[in-house]
Symmetry: C2
DNA sequence: ATGTCTGCAAAGCTTTTGCACTGAT
DNA sequence: ATCAGTGCAAAAGCTTTGCAGACAT
Protein backbone atom coordinates (compact mmCIF):
# COMPACT_ATOMS: atom_id res chain seq x y z
CA UNK A 1 0.00 0.00 0.00
CA UNK A 2 1.36 3.45 -0.90
CA UNK A 3 2.02 6.03 1.77
CA UNK A 4 -0.80 8.11 0.30
CA UNK A 5 -3.31 5.26 0.55
CA UNK A 6 -2.15 4.44 4.06
CA UNK A 7 -2.63 8.04 5.08
CA UNK A 8 -6.15 8.02 3.66
CA UNK A 9 -7.02 4.88 5.61
CA UNK A 10 -5.61 5.96 8.95
CA UNK A 11 -7.35 9.31 8.59
CA UNK A 12 -10.60 7.45 8.14
CA UNK A 13 -9.95 5.26 11.17
CA UNK A 14 -9.13 8.32 13.25
CA UNK A 15 -12.23 10.16 12.04
CA UNK A 16 -14.45 7.22 12.92
CA UNK A 17 -12.88 7.03 16.34
CA UNK A 18 -13.41 10.74 16.97
CA UNK A 19 -17.05 10.61 15.89
CA UNK A 20 -17.74 7.51 17.95
CA UNK A 21 -16.25 9.15 21.04
CA UNK A 22 -17.80 12.58 20.58
CA UNK A 23 -14.43 14.20 20.04
CA UNK A 24 -13.99 17.19 17.75
CA UNK A 25 -12.23 16.83 14.44
CA UNK A 26 -9.71 19.62 14.87
CA UNK A 27 -7.02 20.54 12.33
CA UNK A 28 -4.31 20.08 15.00
CA UNK A 29 -5.27 16.45 15.55
CA UNK A 30 -5.09 15.65 11.85
CA UNK A 31 -1.84 17.56 11.47
CA UNK A 32 -0.30 15.43 14.22
CA UNK A 33 -1.57 12.21 12.66
CA UNK A 34 -0.09 13.27 9.31
CA UNK A 35 3.22 14.20 10.89
CA UNK A 36 3.44 10.75 12.45
CA UNK A 37 2.45 8.80 9.35
CA UNK A 38 4.70 10.77 6.99
CA UNK A 39 7.75 9.74 8.96
CA UNK A 40 9.20 6.33 9.73
CA UNK A 41 10.75 4.75 12.78
CA UNK A 42 10.37 5.62 16.42
CA UNK A 43 9.85 9.08 17.82
CA UNK A 44 9.46 10.89 21.10
CA UNK A 45 7.15 13.80 21.88
CA UNK A 46 9.82 16.45 22.25
CA UNK A 47 11.50 15.85 18.88
CA UNK A 48 8.10 15.77 17.23
CA UNK A 49 7.29 19.10 18.85
CA UNK A 50 10.54 20.57 17.52
CA UNK A 51 9.93 19.14 14.04
CA UNK A 52 6.49 20.67 13.82
CA UNK A 53 7.72 24.01 15.18
CA UNK A 54 10.47 24.01 12.52
CA UNK A 55 7.79 23.65 9.87
CA UNK A 56 6.19 26.74 11.42
CA UNK A 57 3.24 24.71 12.54
CA UNK A 58 1.74 26.27 15.64
CA UNK A 59 1.23 23.44 18.09
CA UNK A 60 1.68 22.98 21.83
CA UNK A 61 3.11 20.11 23.81
CA UNK A 62 -0.22 19.80 25.62
CA UNK A 63 -2.03 19.14 22.35
CA UNK A 64 0.65 16.67 21.28
CA UNK A 65 0.30 14.65 24.47
CA UNK A 66 -3.47 14.87 24.30
CA UNK A 67 -3.64 13.74 20.67
CA UNK A 68 -1.12 10.96 21.21
CA UNK A 69 -3.40 9.68 23.94
CA UNK A 70 -6.26 9.50 21.43
CA UNK A 71 -4.09 7.79 18.82
CA UNK A 72 -3.04 5.21 21.40
CA UNK A 73 -6.66 4.52 22.24
CA UNK A 74 -7.64 3.88 18.64
CA UNK A 75 -4.46 1.83 18.23
CA UNK A 76 -2.95 3.90 15.43
CA UNK A 77 0.26 4.20 17.42
CA UNK A 78 2.08 2.17 20.07
CA UNK A 79 3.99 3.39 23.07
CA UNK A 80 7.34 2.03 24.23
CA UNK A 81 9.60 2.61 27.19
CA UNK A 82 13.07 1.44 26.28
CA UNK A 83 14.61 1.66 29.74
CA UNK A 84 14.47 5.44 29.89
CA UNK A 85 11.98 7.87 31.31
CA UNK A 86 11.23 9.36 27.93
CA UNK A 87 8.55 7.40 26.08
CA UNK A 88 8.96 6.41 22.44
CA UNK A 89 6.15 5.91 19.95
CA UNK A 90 5.67 4.27 16.57
CA UNK A 91 2.84 4.08 14.06
CA UNK A 92 1.06 0.75 14.23
CA UNK A 93 -1.33 0.64 11.30
CA UNK A 94 -0.50 -2.30 9.01
CA UNK A 95 2.57 -3.17 11.07
CA UNK A 96 2.69 -6.61 12.61
CA UNK A 97 3.12 -6.95 16.32
CA UNK A 98 6.87 -7.08 16.74
CA UNK A 99 9.55 -6.73 19.37
CA UNK A 100 12.69 -4.67 19.72
CA UNK A 101 16.44 -4.89 19.98
CA UNK A 102 17.97 -1.73 21.43
CA UNK A 103 21.61 -0.73 21.17
CA UNK A 104 22.47 0.88 24.48
CA UNK A 105 25.45 2.63 22.91
CA UNK A 106 23.86 4.45 19.96
CA UNK A 107 20.16 4.09 20.94
CA UNK A 108 19.30 2.47 17.61
CA UNK A 109 16.13 0.39 17.68
CA UNK A 110 15.77 -2.71 15.49
CA UNK A 111 12.46 -4.51 15.06
CA UNK A 112 12.06 -8.26 14.89
CA UNK A 113 9.31 -10.83 14.88
CA UNK A 114 9.46 -14.23 16.51
CA UNK A 115 6.39 -16.46 16.63
CA UNK A 116 7.71 -18.38 19.64
CA UNK A 117 6.73 -15.54 21.93
CA UNK A 118 3.12 -16.56 21.31
CA UNK A 119 3.76 -19.98 22.84
CA UNK A 120 5.08 -18.40 26.01
CA UNK A 121 2.09 -16.08 26.13
CA UNK A 122 -0.34 -18.97 25.75
CA UNK A 123 1.36 -20.95 28.51
CA UNK A 124 0.91 -18.03 30.90
CA UNK A 125 -2.72 -17.49 30.01
CA UNK A 126 -3.41 -21.17 30.64
CA UNK A 127 -1.46 -21.57 33.85
CA UNK A 128 -2.06 -18.29 35.65
CA UNK A 129 -5.59 -17.15 34.77
CA UNK A 130 -4.24 -13.79 33.70
CA UNK A 131 -5.78 -11.77 30.85
CA UNK A 132 -2.90 -10.60 28.68
CA UNK A 133 -3.49 -7.51 26.59
CA UNK A 134 -0.02 -6.88 25.25
CA UNK A 135 3.60 -7.69 25.79
CA UNK A 136 6.97 -6.05 25.36
CA UNK A 137 10.11 -8.04 24.66
CA UNK A 138 13.27 -5.98 24.47
CA UNK A 139 16.82 -7.17 24.01
CA UNK A 140 19.47 -4.69 25.10
CA UNK A 141 23.07 -4.82 23.96
CA UNK A 142 25.56 -3.53 21.44
CA UNK A 143 24.89 -3.41 17.71
CA UNK A 144 27.22 -4.53 14.97
CA UNK A 145 28.35 -0.98 14.31
CA UNK A 146 29.13 -0.02 17.90
CA UNK A 147 31.08 -3.22 18.58
CA UNK A 148 33.88 -1.99 16.31
CA UNK A 149 34.43 1.26 18.17
CA UNK B 1 19.91 -19.65 52.59
CA UNK B 2 18.55 -17.62 55.51
CA UNK B 3 17.95 -13.91 55.19
CA UNK B 4 20.76 -13.32 57.67
CA UNK B 5 23.24 -15.37 55.65
CA UNK B 6 22.13 -13.69 52.45
CA UNK B 7 22.65 -10.32 54.03
CA UNK B 8 26.13 -11.27 55.09
CA UNK B 9 27.02 -12.39 51.60
CA UNK B 10 25.66 -9.38 49.76
CA UNK B 11 27.44 -7.11 52.24
CA UNK B 12 30.66 -8.84 51.38
CA UNK B 13 30.06 -8.51 47.66
CA UNK B 14 29.28 -4.83 48.08
CA UNK B 15 32.38 -4.24 50.21
CA UNK B 16 34.59 -5.93 47.64
CA UNK B 17 33.06 -3.83 44.91
CA UNK B 18 33.61 -0.61 46.87
CA UNK B 19 37.23 -1.45 47.62
CA UNK B 20 37.94 -2.45 44.05
CA UNK B 21 36.51 0.81 42.77
CA UNK B 22 38.05 3.10 45.38
CA UNK B 23 34.69 4.00 46.83
CA UNK B 24 34.25 4.78 50.51
CA UNK B 25 32.43 2.37 52.77
CA UNK B 26 29.92 4.79 54.26
CA UNK B 27 27.19 3.84 56.74
CA UNK B 28 24.53 5.27 54.41
CA UNK B 29 25.48 2.88 51.65
CA UNK B 30 25.24 -0.14 53.91
CA UNK B 31 21.99 1.09 55.41
CA UNK B 32 20.49 1.30 51.93
CA UNK B 33 21.71 -2.18 51.03
CA UNK B 34 20.20 -3.53 54.25
CA UNK B 35 16.92 -1.75 53.62
CA UNK B 36 16.69 -3.35 50.20
CA UNK B 37 17.62 -6.87 51.27
CA UNK B 38 15.37 -6.87 54.31
CA UNK B 39 12.34 -6.35 52.14
CA UNK B 40 10.89 -8.39 49.32
CA UNK B 41 9.37 -7.57 45.98
CA UNK B 42 9.79 -4.54 43.79
CA UNK B 43 10.35 -1.03 45.01
CA UNK B 44 10.80 2.48 43.70
CA UNK B 45 13.13 5.17 45.02
CA UNK B 46 10.48 7.46 46.45
CA UNK B 47 8.76 4.83 48.60
CA UNK B 48 12.14 3.63 49.82
CA UNK B 49 12.98 7.22 50.76
CA UNK B 50 9.73 7.51 52.70
CA UNK B 51 10.28 4.14 54.42
CA UNK B 52 13.72 5.11 55.62
CA UNK B 53 12.54 8.54 56.74
CA UNK B 54 9.76 6.87 58.72
CA UNK B 55 12.38 4.84 60.52
CA UNK B 56 14.00 8.17 61.38
CA UNK B 57 16.97 7.30 59.24
CA UNK B 58 18.51 10.50 57.91
CA UNK B 59 19.05 9.94 54.23
CA UNK B 60 18.68 12.02 51.09
CA UNK B 61 17.26 11.16 47.71
CA UNK B 62 20.60 12.06 46.16
CA UNK B 63 22.36 9.40 48.20
CA UNK B 64 19.65 6.88 47.38
CA UNK B 65 20.02 7.41 43.66
CA UNK B 66 23.79 7.41 43.96
CA UNK B 67 23.90 4.17 45.97
CA UNK B 68 21.37 2.46 43.72
CA UNK B 69 23.69 3.23 40.81
CA UNK B 70 26.51 1.44 42.63
CA UNK B 71 24.29 -1.53 43.47
CA UNK B 72 23.26 -1.80 39.84
CA UNK B 73 26.88 -1.82 38.75
CA UNK B 74 27.82 -4.64 41.09
CA UNK B 75 24.62 -6.44 40.03
CA UNK B 76 23.10 -6.68 43.51
CA UNK B 77 19.90 -5.12 42.17
CA UNK B 78 18.11 -4.91 38.82
CA UNK B 79 16.24 -2.00 37.33
CA UNK B 80 12.89 -2.23 35.55
CA UNK B 81 10.67 0.17 33.67
CA UNK B 82 7.16 -1.23 33.61
CA UNK B 83 5.67 1.22 31.17
CA UNK B 84 5.80 4.15 33.54
CA UNK B 85 8.28 6.95 34.08
CA UNK B 86 9.07 5.80 37.60
CA UNK B 87 11.73 3.08 37.67
CA UNK B 88 11.29 -0.05 39.76
CA UNK B 89 14.06 -2.08 41.34
CA UNK B 90 14.48 -5.56 42.83
CA UNK B 91 17.29 -7.37 44.60
CA UNK B 92 19.04 -9.80 42.30
CA UNK B 93 21.39 -11.85 44.47
CA UNK B 94 20.49 -15.55 44.28
CA UNK B 95 17.47 -14.81 42.13
CA UNK B 96 17.32 -16.40 38.72
CA UNK B 97 16.90 -14.24 35.67
CA UNK B 98 13.16 -14.00 35.25
CA UNK B 99 10.48 -11.99 33.52
CA UNK B 100 7.37 -10.15 34.62
CA UNK B 101 3.62 -10.07 34.31
CA UNK B 102 2.16 -6.70 35.28
CA UNK B 103 -1.46 -6.06 36.16
CA UNK B 104 -2.24 -2.65 34.71
CA UNK B 105 -5.20 -2.29 37.07
CA UNK B 106 -3.60 -2.89 40.48
CA UNK B 107 0.10 -2.59 39.46
CA UNK B 108 0.87 -6.01 40.91
CA UNK B 109 4.01 -7.60 39.48
CA UNK B 110 4.30 -11.39 39.11
CA UNK B 111 7.56 -13.07 38.23
CA UNK B 112 7.89 -16.04 35.91
CA UNK B 113 10.60 -18.03 34.20
CA UNK B 114 10.39 -19.53 30.74
CA UNK B 115 13.42 -21.21 29.18
CA UNK B 116 12.07 -20.67 25.68
CA UNK B 117 13.15 -17.04 25.79
CA UNK B 118 16.72 -18.31 25.54
CA UNK B 119 16.02 -19.86 22.17
CA UNK B 120 14.74 -16.57 20.82
CA UNK B 121 17.79 -14.81 22.21
CA UNK B 122 20.16 -17.29 20.57
CA UNK B 123 18.43 -16.94 17.22
CA UNK B 124 18.96 -13.20 17.32
CA UNK B 125 22.60 -13.43 18.31
CA UNK B 126 23.20 -15.82 15.41
CA UNK B 127 21.26 -13.99 12.74
CA UNK B 128 21.96 -10.34 13.55
CA UNK B 129 25.50 -10.14 14.91
CA UNK B 130 24.21 -8.26 17.93
CA UNK B 131 25.77 -8.63 21.39
CA UNK B 132 22.91 -9.10 23.84
CA UNK B 133 23.55 -8.12 27.45
CA UNK B 134 20.10 -8.47 28.89
CA UNK B 135 16.46 -8.66 27.98
CA UNK B 136 13.12 -7.64 29.42
CA UNK B 137 9.94 -9.54 28.67
CA UNK B 138 6.81 -8.03 30.17
CA UNK B 139 3.24 -9.16 29.78
CA UNK B 140 0.64 -6.52 30.57
CA UNK B 141 -2.96 -7.27 31.40
CA UNK B 142 -5.47 -7.91 34.15
CA UNK B 143 -4.81 -10.24 37.04
CA UNK B 144 -7.19 -12.84 38.41
CA UNK B 145 -8.25 -10.55 41.23
CA UNK B 146 -8.97 -7.47 39.15
CA UNK B 147 -10.98 -9.40 36.55
CA UNK B 148 -13.77 -9.89 39.07
CA UNK B 149 -14.24 -6.20 39.74
C1' DA C 1 -24.24 30.24 20.62
C1' DT C 2 -22.25 26.67 23.03
C1' DG C 3 -18.84 24.21 25.17
C1' DT C 4 -14.70 21.53 23.75
C1' DC C 5 -10.07 22.03 22.29
C1' DT C 6 -6.07 24.90 21.92
C1' DG C 7 -1.72 27.45 23.14
C1' DC C 8 0.74 29.13 26.70
C1' DA C 9 2.61 29.06 31.10
C1' DA C 10 2.83 27.15 35.41
C1' DA C 11 2.90 23.11 38.22
C1' DG C 12 3.94 18.08 39.16
C1' DC C 13 6.76 14.30 39.46
C1' DT C 14 11.02 11.75 39.05
C1' DT C 15 15.81 12.27 38.78
C1' DT C 16 20.17 15.06 38.69
C1' DT C 17 23.21 18.74 40.08
C1' DG C 18 25.55 22.44 43.03
C1' DC C 19 27.26 23.57 47.28
C1' DA C 20 28.91 23.75 51.85
C1' DC C 21 29.65 20.53 55.47
C1' DT C 22 30.78 15.92 57.33
C1' DG C 23 33.31 12.02 58.09
C1' DA C 24 36.03 7.77 55.95
C1' DT C 25 40.55 7.21 54.85
C1' DA D 1 44.40 16.59 57.04
C1' DT D 2 42.38 15.52 52.86
C1' DC D 3 38.77 15.20 49.68
C1' DA D 4 34.97 11.88 48.47
C1' DG D 5 30.38 11.45 50.02
C1' DT D 6 26.44 13.52 52.26
C1' DG D 7 22.07 16.27 53.05
C1' DC D 8 19.58 19.85 51.45
C1' DA D 9 17.64 22.66 48.09
C1' DA D 10 17.45 24.09 43.64
C1' DA D 11 17.42 22.77 38.80
C1' DA D 12 16.48 19.79 34.98
C1' DG D 13 13.67 16.91 32.01
C1' DC D 14 9.33 14.81 30.79
C1' DT D 15 4.44 15.14 31.30
C1' DT D 16 0.06 17.12 33.08
C1' DT D 17 -2.96 20.82 34.46
C1' DG D 18 -5.30 25.54 34.70
C1' DC D 19 -6.96 29.17 32.26
C1' DA D 20 -8.45 32.46 28.84
C1' DG D 21 -9.32 32.60 24.15
C1' DA D 22 -10.37 30.16 19.64
C1' DC D 23 -13.12 27.39 16.85
C1' DA D 24 -15.78 22.88 15.62
C1' DT D 25 -20.34 21.80 16.18
Amino acid sequence: MSKKDTHKEVTEIFTNYLIKNNQRKTPERYAILTEIYENDGHFDVESMYINMKNKNYRVSRATLYNTIELLLECKLIRKHQFGKAQAQFEKSFLSRQHDHIICTTCDKVIEFCDPRILNIKNSIIESMNFQIERHALNFYGTCNNCQNK
